[in-house]
Structure formats: C-alpha cells, structure tokens
Symmetry: C2
Subunit: 235 residues, 2 copies
C-alpha cells in the first residue's frame, strides 16, 4: 500500500483545547471520545496559570498538524488560547519551527452556522471572523486548513452525530486534500485499524468491505492505464 | 454656540488600555500625554488578575464612547483585553447596556500599515483583521468607529507627531462624523479650552484665530441662506 497514514504509530496531530468547562460540555466529551481511538492524535488542554514556554514549544515541534479546538466566544477563541499564542509563539519560534505544518480550527457555535453571511444576523462569514488565525498561519508559513465548525450539537440526530464523528476524525488525521482517493485511503486504513477491536463476524464484514474498495481501486487504476495507452496511440 | 462638546465637564470617553508595558512604551506615553488635557476622557488600564465584573460594567455604562487601545499582538489585542471582554460583557449586559454607544480601536503596529492589503506582505487589511471587534460592536448594537492605527511611531518626525496628537485627540472626543463643520467646531471648542492655560500674548493670538473661524462660519451660513432664497425664487 502506498499510503500508510493512520495505521502507523507516529504521532501526527496535536489538538489544543481551549474550553473553560470541558467536563461539562457534551460536545467536547463527544469529540474526545471520537478522537480516543486515533493513535496519531494527542490532546492538550490549556489550563489557567503560567505556561512553560519551552515545554510548549517542544511539544509543537513534534507534530505536523496543530488544531485549536474551542467554543467561539465573542467572535474569537476564549482568552486562554490568546494567552498561549502570545506567550508560546515568539518571534524566533514563529520564523523557524512552524513552517509547513498545518493549522486547523475546530470551532463550536452557539447559533446556527447559516447566520454567518452578509445580510444574515451575524453579517460576517466564519472565514472573515477567523482571519486573525489565518494571518497567524500565513506569518508562520503554515498551511491553514478549512475551518471545521460545529453548530447546534445538542439538536443533532444520531445519524448527524455519526457523520460528525467521521468528519471530525478525518479532519484530525486525513491527508489534507479533498480528492476521492485520499478519502478512500483514509477509510481503508482506518477500517483496518478498528477491525482488530471487533468481534469475529463484524470483523469479517469490515474486511470484505475493505477488500471490495481495494479491488475497485485496482480496477480503476487498470482502466486509467488503459486510457493512457489508448491516448498515446492517438495521432 | 450650538455645539458645546469638549468644553463642558461631562465624562464622555473611556480609553481601555491593554498593554503589558505601558510605562516602557514611548507611544503609549505620548498618547497618555496627548489625552491628559481632555477633561471628558478617562483612562482605564487593564492589569492581570481578577476583574470586578460589576464595577467594570458600571464604569462602561457612564460613557458614550469606549476605546480599546492596544498594540497588535498576533493580529488581535493582547490576551488581557480578550479576558476582560469574555468576563465583563456577558449576555444580558451586551443586550441592554451598550446600545448606541460607540466602539473605537486605537491600534499600534510594529510594521508599516501599507503592508496590510491584498498582495502585500500581511495580505489582509486592518478592517479584515479586526472583524471580531466589529462583530462584537454589531452584536451589542454599538456604532463601530473607523480604526485608528499608528505604525512606526519611533520613525515619526516632530510634525508627524503633532498631527498624530491632534488626530488622536479628535478620535477620542470629536463628534463621530467627518463633515467640515464638525472638525471646525472641534477646533473652536478645543481652542477655547486650552487658551486659558496659555500666557497672555499666545492667548490673544489663539482667540483671534478662533474669532476668525467663527466669523467665517457666520459668513458661510449667511451665504447658504442667500443661496436658499435665490433657489426658492427660481421658476
């Protein structure tokens, strides 16, 4: 297999949580459970008090993808995240150590996301509201990921929550591009990883699904090769 | 005189300063000196520690214009201001007590303001970067003032600094509209207020200038009346 991401043991993603009441937040607990089975993800809570700057900087160096996860308070993150940014990302560090890493935001909203648009009640889009984070990423030569926003979690149906779980897991660990092959690869490696924990019959079913996906992909690749050959024969 | 603002003793503007080292900042010291003679302005420093929420809220209620004054740190205010906003502006307060007040930002920049535009090094405009404050103002039904930005203060000439002083004083106390009459009124009332502190000859000079401005204005008003009359005579 060409794409191993998700099945090896290398830590990849650091989720920095800035939330004053993680234990009382249904959504944060749901997200934590969703990420628990992802071996390449580490969770890092920000707690009030002094940060050990060197320790925080060393932690950041180890990961390819940094995620800020927080509820939107007054059109930004809770102040604790700004404190962390102000103190940890100093000039030298920003110039040298974050380059080519990815920066993502997982933002929960108390109102419907549809309200964030010109002429709607909130008037500005989430992309506009979170420009300061995009500008930070630019300055550090990081790649800014699409914002992952979650609104009105408590009104979600079970199916919506399952979809959220998959999309969130992908946001944390999937290769950052949107083509179909990447999505397929993610499902295959993820499937292989979780099938071990299943009972025998379920495991067999999952392995069958995975082998169908893999066979289909081989067929698609064969077809692509054929098309390329046919094209090269054209006058 | 129809426009008394600036000569009476009513507090009008609250400047909330979020700067970790005000005493060591040449610019902040310059701004403080510039505002010292303005009787309608009160300065409020944010210091780390617990805020007395009720006290802060009561203070806000007293002023028509609230100014956040800070150096831009990572495309926003230093975290202490976000802490203050998160804690002081609670839901009920935001819905009831800030309506129709004005919100302004006095932001100092470490780089040339010309860098803040599409295709320039910073890529985003200051208006874009400070959208979260504009969104906050909108939500509280406040009037968001144009951003007052100061870049590269230490490279300014004496004349540039004098201009900055006037513009800053106007930002704090001038009626929020840009027509010429407002500017003129501001100069007249400000001139009358400071002339008391001058020695006799300077005071006379200043009073002469003021009376010239006032006479000119009367002449302009007469001319306007004449034009209106002439128009009403038209067929």
């Amino acid at each position: 297999m060409m794409y191993q991401n998700g099945v090896n043991n290398v830590k990849k993603t650091l989720v920095i949580i800035a939330h004053p009441e993680v234990a009382d937040s249904q959504l944060q607990q749901f997200l934590l459970e969703s990420s628990q089975s992802l071996e390449e993800v580490e969770i890092h809570y920000l707690i009030e008090g002094q940060f050990d700057i060197k320790e925080e900087q060393n932690k950041l160096k180890k990961f390819d993808r940094i995620i800020f996860q927080f509820p939107m308070y007054w059109y930004s993150a809770p102040f604790i995240l700004k404190k962390w940014i102000d103190e940890v990302i100093d000039y030298t560090f920003s110039k040298t150590e974050l380059r080519h890493k990815e920066l993502g935001l997982v933002v929960s909203l108390g109102v419907d996301e549809a309200n964030f648009a010109s002429g709607k009640p909130e008037n500005f889009t989430l992309s506009e509201i979170f420009r300061p984070f995009e500008a930070l990423a630019n300055k550090c030569q990081m790649i800014f990921l699409p914002i992952f926003s979650i609104s009105l979690f408590s009104y979600m149906t079970e199916i919506e929550k399952k979809r959220l779980l998959i999309e969130y897991q992908q946001y944390l660990t999937k290769k950052n591009n949107v083509n179909f092959e990447t999505k397929e690869n993610w499902f295959v490696s993820r499937g292989k990883s979780i099938s071990k924990t299943y009972e025998d019959t379920k495991q067999e079913n999952l392995e069958q699904i995975i082998s169908i996906i893999e066979n289909n992909r081989e067929e698609i690749e064969d077809l692509r090769l054929l098309i390329d050959e046919m094209r090269s024969d054209e006058p």
